[in-house]
């Protein structure tokens, strides 16, 4: 046990040294269901690589597997940062298949989706503990940010000392307010944007380069 862990640690140290120069940071996109995580991941991927990460949808839990887009090179002020983007399923503490039947889904389909959703959330938690180097936490700025899941997730991210940026998404909507989000998480930088309309993406990329470069 100790030996294997020691070995693992030294292998990972060696790997870290090997890749120290062009070290690829894996950035996890987290946040509640429907905040716009996939829309954002797709926009970033399209802007810098030309293709998308996965389907966006108004149906919660459309993303039921963590999806990774590798080698996204973001050029900023003559410098470039290369990151892997990981789009994750929205984290929640409950999944009821009946939520899906509201979207005109057959029971069998709804049951399958909810099972995939629970697996996806478990996987996303695992990624957070083991496999990401930084986090973009996406919130829908028309909604109340003071939820238990947001508080817990931010707490988990802080306890792992991961760099984190909070994105206040959907600023194109009339009832959007960034201030609520700033008040909820004053210890972190909040960046307003519309992933759908592409508003304020310059600042988004500046901050990504600054925090994760």
């Amino acid at each position: 046990m100790g030996l294997i862990n020691g070995l693992k640690a030294s292998i990972s140290r060696a790997r870290d040294r090997l890749f120290a120069d062009d070290e690829q940071k894996r950035i996890g996109i987290y946040g509640p269901p429907n905040a716009g995580k996939t829309t954002l991941a797709n926009r970033i991927a399209r802007d810098w690589t030309g293709d998308a990460v996965g389907p966006e949808s108004h149906i919660p839990h459309e993303t039921r597997r963590a999806r990774r887009k590798e080698d996204v090179e973001i050029k900023r002020n003559g410098k470039s940062v290369t990151i892997d983007i990981v789009d994750t399923p929205g984290v929640t503490t409950k999944v009821d298949y009946e939520e899906f039947t509201e979207f005109d889904m057959e029971k069998e389909d709804a049951v399958r989706r909810s099972r995939e959703a629970t697996e996806g959330v478990a996987e996303a938690m695992h990624w957070l503990r083991e496999d990401v180097d930084g986090v973009i936490y996406v919130l829908d700025s028309t909604e109340d940010p003071f939820t238990q899941v947001n508080t817990m997730l931010i707490g988990i991210i802080e306890s792992r000392d991961l760099p984190v940026l909070i994105f206040a998404n959907k600023i194109d909507l009339d009832d959007s307010t960034q201030q609520r989000i700033r008040n909820a998480f004053p210890q972190h930088e909040t960046v307003p944007l519309s992933a759908l309309e592409g508003d304020n993406m310059d600042e988004v990329y500046d901050k990504i380069a600054e925090y994760f470069g």
């Binding site: 409950k94 009821d96 938690m125 238990q148 817990m152 988990i156």
Partner: protein
């Protein structure tokens, strides 16, 4: 776990678990105790809550136990942390930032949070 309730009894069992009792348990033991209680329809109240890492594992294990027409997850509430959060990594390492926050956990289909702020959590608990 404490004695389980009489199956004929249609009341709601509440387990208040002291920090002292939790301090001797491993993370997995705590999670098991919480989820076993919640599976039985109990409301579990932790005097001292869980660490962020334990919360993360609790979510993960909860997800693996959800089944259609059966258990559909948990509702969990703690007081929000103080807004002036400037504790450093060192503080946390030294255990200065205690997880000392009352935490209420119940079956998602039986507990509904009515109101929550820094000093009050108000929840509605229904029988099964």
């Amino acid at each position: 776990m404490p004695e389980t309730k009489d199956p004929d009894d249609d009341g709601v069992q509440i387990d208040l678990i002291s920090g002292e009792r939790m301090s001797g348990m491993t993370s997995m033991e705590k999670i098991r105790m919480i989820l076993d209680g919640v599976h039985e329809g109990n409301i579990v109240i932790l005097e001292e809550g869980l660490s962020p890492d334990e919360e993360s594992r609790l979510i993960e294990v909860t997800m693996t136990e959800i089944s259609p027409d059966g258990f559909n997850g948990i509702e969990i509430e703690t007081y929000p942390r103080a807004k002036t959060n400037d504790s450093s990594f060192l503080d946390r390492l030294m255990g200065k930032e205690s997880a000392n926050k009352l935490t209420v956990i119940g079956p998602a289909n039986q507990i509904e949070t009515l109101h929550k702020d820094e000093t009050l959590i108000s929840a509605l608990v229904s029988r099964r």
